[in-house]
């Protein structure tokens, strides 16, 4: 009989199709099928593994965090970056403090429980989730202040971060000295080398120039460190530089990170959506 004879082959095809379906739907949406259940199991083992790893490597990291806290204390009045990391925000009707400034960003600390740096697509898992106020699309910075990536998936007690070392990742950053914006991506080769495109050749760019986060992101505060230019290449085919950037954050060895929340994210996003709807509607009536 046909089905009996080829039953193993048919099972093989079914399992292949399931796998490929998982793979390609995930690539499009970054929402893994079955992650809800599997996440609980992997988080449990990741937590255990991390406790063991901490025992060996915590000391160096502690020193670094301490240095950063120290410098933040000094900066407190100057740029209003709060150090109440780990705090969860309570609903407060007054969004101004006594100095008349409005708070835009809240920083929270988190610990990295699992991370890879050896694939084309690298992710981190941290030990804070929606229970601690983490939500999708929040920015992530390392303990020495460099950009790390973005939250892409939030569980109750854990969340997943897409690292800069991910070929899918593209983000808008700017050259600090000239202020021109470019697109930062990763080519999947060395973890010490990101690629920055779209900086026009009319700018003067030198090795060692600072790259900071751009002004036009809802997820990141502007002007935070991203990296420094390590190579300047001229693309003969176009009017743009191809810059190689060395990230400030040590992306292969992260243990403590900061999660930045833009308090007005929802408001800004909604305004953007409404504007687009409005324009679409007008366009249709014409």
């Amino acid at each position: 009989m046909f089905i009996r004879r080829f039953s193993v082959f048919i099972l093989f095809l079914i399992l292949q199709i399931i796998s490929l379906y998982f793979l390609f739907t995930y690539n499009r949406s970054h929402r893994a099928k079955g992650l809800g259940f599997a996440g609980g199991v992997t988080s449990y083992f990741n937590g255990k593994y991390n406790a063991l790893e901490d025992f060996f490597t915590m000391q160096e990291e502690n020193r670094r965090v301490h240095r950063l806290n120290d410098s933040l204390m000094n900066l407190l009045r100057a740029n209003f970056i709060p150090v109440d990391s780990g705090a969860s925000r309570l609903a407060d009707s007054a969004n101004r403090d006594t100095t008349g400034k409005m708070r835009q960003y809240i920083w929270r600390s988190a610990q990295v429980v699992y991370s890879t740096a050896s694939s084309d697509k690298n992710y981190l898992q941290i030990n804070r989730g929606s229970n601690a106020g983490i939500a999708d699309d929040m920015g992530v910075f390392s303990s020495n202040g460099g950009l790390v990536g973005k939250v892409i998936n939030t569980g109750k007690n854990f969340s997943e971060i897409m690292s800069l070392l991910n070929v899918v990742n593209k983000m808008s950053v700017q050259l600090k000295r000239t202020g021109s914006a470019g697109m930062l991506s990763w080519e999947g080769k060395s973890p010490q080398e990101l690629t920055l495109k779209n900086i026009p050749k009319t700018d003067s760019v030198r090795r060692g120039d600072t790259i900071v986060t751009g002004n036009y992101s809802l997820s990141y505060p502007p002007g935070r460190m991203v990296g420094t230019v390590s190579h300047v290449l001229r693309d003969k085919a176009s009017n743009f530089f191809i810059l190689k950037v060395k990230p400030t954050a040590n992306l292969t060895n992260l243990q403590q990170v900061f999660i930045v929340e833009n308090i007005n994210y929802e408001t800004q996003k909604q305004l953007d959506r409404e504007t687009q709807d409005m324009v679409d509607k007008k366009g249709g009536n014409k």
Binding site: V8, G39, S118, V168
Partner: protein, 177 residues
């Protein structure tokens, strides 16, 4: 130890080795990750039904996938290995007898040459398919070919080391069970 218990322990050990040692250690060269978890499938006993090997392969790959956040990638590759395994074993089966005298594929059961060829073919298929799927979503062709060859070489080195460190003391299979 019964086969069931032995294989459950192996399943977990291979996943932990892959996820917590090989995936997180500093990359060897241009992001080549060493793969060995599929050795679990290569070591399954001969008498397992083909369909069961496929299902075990699927869950093995999927378990690794949920750690690396690439659902389906390793699952697809290890299902392929599980599917090809019986065919490759048939290639090296002794002509005169239909049954192997040992329970699992091992250098002792098949001879070193046959066993190494068996491991080489399957680990090449695994790495080729895995890196091919990675390449489909991203990457350059030359990069992909080089990666396949290097990754396979590393997998083979690790399999040989595993065989030398853990020589499996398998009982001779008698006809009277």
């Amino acid at each position: 130890m019964s086969d069931l218990v032995r294989n459950i322990i192996r399943f977990m050990l291979f996943i932990f080795l892959q996820v917590y040692v090989l995936n997180v250690m500093p990359h060897l060269h241009q992001l080549v990750t060493p793969y060995i978890y599929f050795l679990f499938i290569l070591w399954l006993p001969f008498y397992f039904k083909k369909a069961w090997i496929l299902i075990l392969g699927f869950f093995l790959g999927l378990s690794v996938d949920y750690y690396t956040m690439t659902p389906g990638l390793h699952a697809a590759a290890s299902v392929l290995v599980a599917f090809l395994r019986p065919m490759v074993i048939n290639l090296f089966a002794p002509k005169d007898s239909t049954e192997f005298s040992y329970k699992e594929p091992s250098p002792k059961a098949m001879g070193w040459t046959a066993y190494l060829l068996y491991a080489l073919i399957l680990s090449f298929c695994h790495n080729f398919y895995l890196l091919f799927l990675e390449w489909v979503s991203f990457g350059s062709f030359i990069h992909f070919l080089m990666k396949t060859i290097i990754t396979t070489a590393i997998s083979m080195v690790m399999i040989i080391i595993a065989e030398i460190i853990f020589p499996r003391k398998l009982k001779f299979r008698s006809n009277t069970v």
